[in-house]
């Protein structure tokens, strides 16, 4: 990696109540890169994203955006150009698909820009245009996931953090969702992905990190990880 990092984590420590989940995590992503964090369930992948966006308080360490340290203010995350699509999506169930998407552009004052983003989301995820007036609470799991990703796109963010986009979905829906993520990466966005299955994302990921028990135990090219039976067996139960 030669380009300067757009997002950098230095010795991140965080957790819930008395439990420390992240134990000194460091990572850096250059602009336009797609980086995936893999690891077993319950070892801190989602907590890492939630710490970056401020949903989980930072206990120690530093988060740097464009080389400058940022504080853990959740409502400033969007303004800083970071879109977090969390696990479970954190949608607004009593609002329509369209209103959920508009909430993604909450900070955008330009109605022409909002319309442009809506067009982009509808072209990437045409089903959302069909479901425009439907309440989100009545959508299927795959459709809710699409709304979550669409809303993330509506934020116009340069860094997209997506937490387990394939979790609990049918293979066909997973394929559609990864198709969108690949196209977002190709359009120049920086993507930080969390996934349990490295094989699923290896084709379009630039670098991979393996998180185990709150610490990175390996990082490198996806092909290296997939070629190593030792790593797969030891950490991913494969």
């Amino acid at each position: 990696m030669t380009a300067p990092p757009v997002l950098e984590l230095r010795g991140l420590r965080s957790g819930y109540d008395g439990i420390e989940v992240l134990r000194g995590v460091s990572l850096s992503i250059a602009a336009g890169e797609t980086v995936t964090v893999v690891g077993p369930n319950g070892h801190g992948k989602s907590t890492m994203l939630r710490t970056i966006s401020g949903l989980v308080p930072l206990r120690q360490g530093e988060i740097r955006l464009d080389g400058k340290p940022i504080g853990p203010h959740v409502h400033l995350t969007a303004a800083r150009g970071i879109a977090h699509v969390p696990q479970g999506d954190l949608l607004f169930p009593g609002m329509t698909v369209h209103e959920n998407l508009l909430m993604g552009a909450y900070l955008c004052p330009d109605s022409a820009e909002i319309a442009r983003r809506l067009d982009e989301v509808h072209s990437l995820l045409p089903k959302l245009a069909d479901r425009r007036s439907q309440l989100v609470s009545t959508l299927s799991g795959g459709e809710r996931r699409m709304v979550g990703i669409g809303r993330g796109l509506m934020m116009g963010a340069r860094i997209l953090m997506i937490d387990e986009p394939s979790l609990g979905l049918a293979p066909l829906v997973i394929e559609q969702i990864y198709e969108v993520i690949i196209r977002m990466g190709q359009s120049g966005r920086t993507i930080l992905l969390v996934e349990e299955n490295p094989a699923r994302v290896a084709d379009f990921t630039d670098r991979m990190y393996l998180l185990d028990n709150g610490e990175f135990v390996w990082s490198g090219a996806p092909t290296e990880l997939l070629a190593s039976d030792e790593l797969i067996t030891a950490y991913l139960g494969g």
Binding site: T77, L91, F92, P93, M95, M103, Y106, S140, G141, M155
Partner: protein
């Protein structure tokens, strides 16, 4: 036939007052998930501020009306800034109960403050409109008409603002998922402050309308606060359109019960309605029943 229309007008007027009182209460519950027990005291404050502005300071009636609304908004804002925000910062556990207890304290302090300044004797609100209009068999007092129009206008403005404005969407988003709203860039602190101020402004205006029908007293807001709470529970806590519809429905029923069986049966009938609804539909008649595909 005249009796029928009299009871109808009385029911609609009281219903309009209940509706305005319950809008503010429902708005706060819907957005913050807490019961503002000082809502009744804000009603009282609105009535007294208008009285003080018009009678005490000799200001025009319009300014008095504006002062009532502004006083409610400022008091609502102060309740958030001085109490609710600090309780919220202590952590989410027991947040609802702590806010409820704190706002009971504020209500008592406000009521006693008013008692200290204005005394306990009933006062006549100068903002009244005498006379009536006749439409066939219907004799409609101007005062009742003004209250009904004000109620409809308040409901329309709030409903439109919630549905169509950016702040309205932020309020609804925060009510549905606080963390998700923050991730979208919503400053939840500002949303809560706005909700308490809007609720306070509506309460202030409601207090003024209410005191134009009865007399001013330091406990003016207690009864409407209790009735508004009944309306909100029967409708389903946090559902604005439901609170409005139930306010009119139950007020009409109350008016007919009072006419048919005597005034003392009105309030027990409302309490019975709460009990029946809570057994039949615990979430309220129009409460949020989550339809969620698995």
């Amino acid at each position: 036939m005249n009796t029928f229309y009299s009871v109808l007008i009385s029911g609609l007027t009281v219903g309009a007052l209940y509706a305005i009182a319950s809008i503010g209460l429902s708005l706060v519950w819907g957005a913050l998930g807490v019961l503002n027990m000082a809502h009744g005291a804000l009603l009282t404050l609105g009535g007294y501020v208008a009285y003080a502005a018009i009678t005490g300071l000799g200001l025009p009636t319009g300014i008095g009306v504006l002062a009532a609304v502004l006083a409610g908004a400022v008091a609502g804002g102060l309740i958030y800034l001085l109490v609710v925000r600090n309780v919220l910062r202590q952590g989410m556990a027991d947040f609802e109960a702590n806010v409820m207890i704190a706002t009971v304290g504020i209500a008592i302090a406000l009521e006693n403050g008013i008692l200290l300044v204005f005394g306990g004797q009933p006062l006549k609100q100068p903002v009244t409109v005498d006379g009536s209009m006749t439409l066939g068999p219907l004799v409609l007092p101007w005062q009742s008409l003004i209250i009904m129009v004000a109620a409809v206008a308040a409901m329309a403005v709030i409903a439109t603002a919630l549905a169509r404005t950016r702040m309205g969407r932020a309020i609804r988003a925060t009510a549905q998922n606080r963390d998700a709203a923050r991730l979208m860039g919503v400053a939840v602190d500002r949303v809560y402050l706005s909700v308490l101020m809007i609720s306070g402004a509506v309460a202030g205006g409601c207090g003024l309308l209410l005191s134009s029908m009865v007399q001013l007293s330091p406990s003016l807001g207690n009864d409407p606060m209790l009735k508004a709470f009944i309306m909100c529970v029967v409708a389903g806590l946090g559902t604005l359109p439901g609170a409005v519809l139930v306010s009119f429905g139950l007020a009409l029923l109350e008016a007919w019960v009072q006419y048919a069986f005597g005034a003392r049966w009105g309030f027990p009938m409302l309490l019975c309605a709460v009990v029946v609804v809570l057994i039949w539909r615990p979430g309220g008649l129009m409460g949020r029943v989550q339809v969620r595909r698995m």
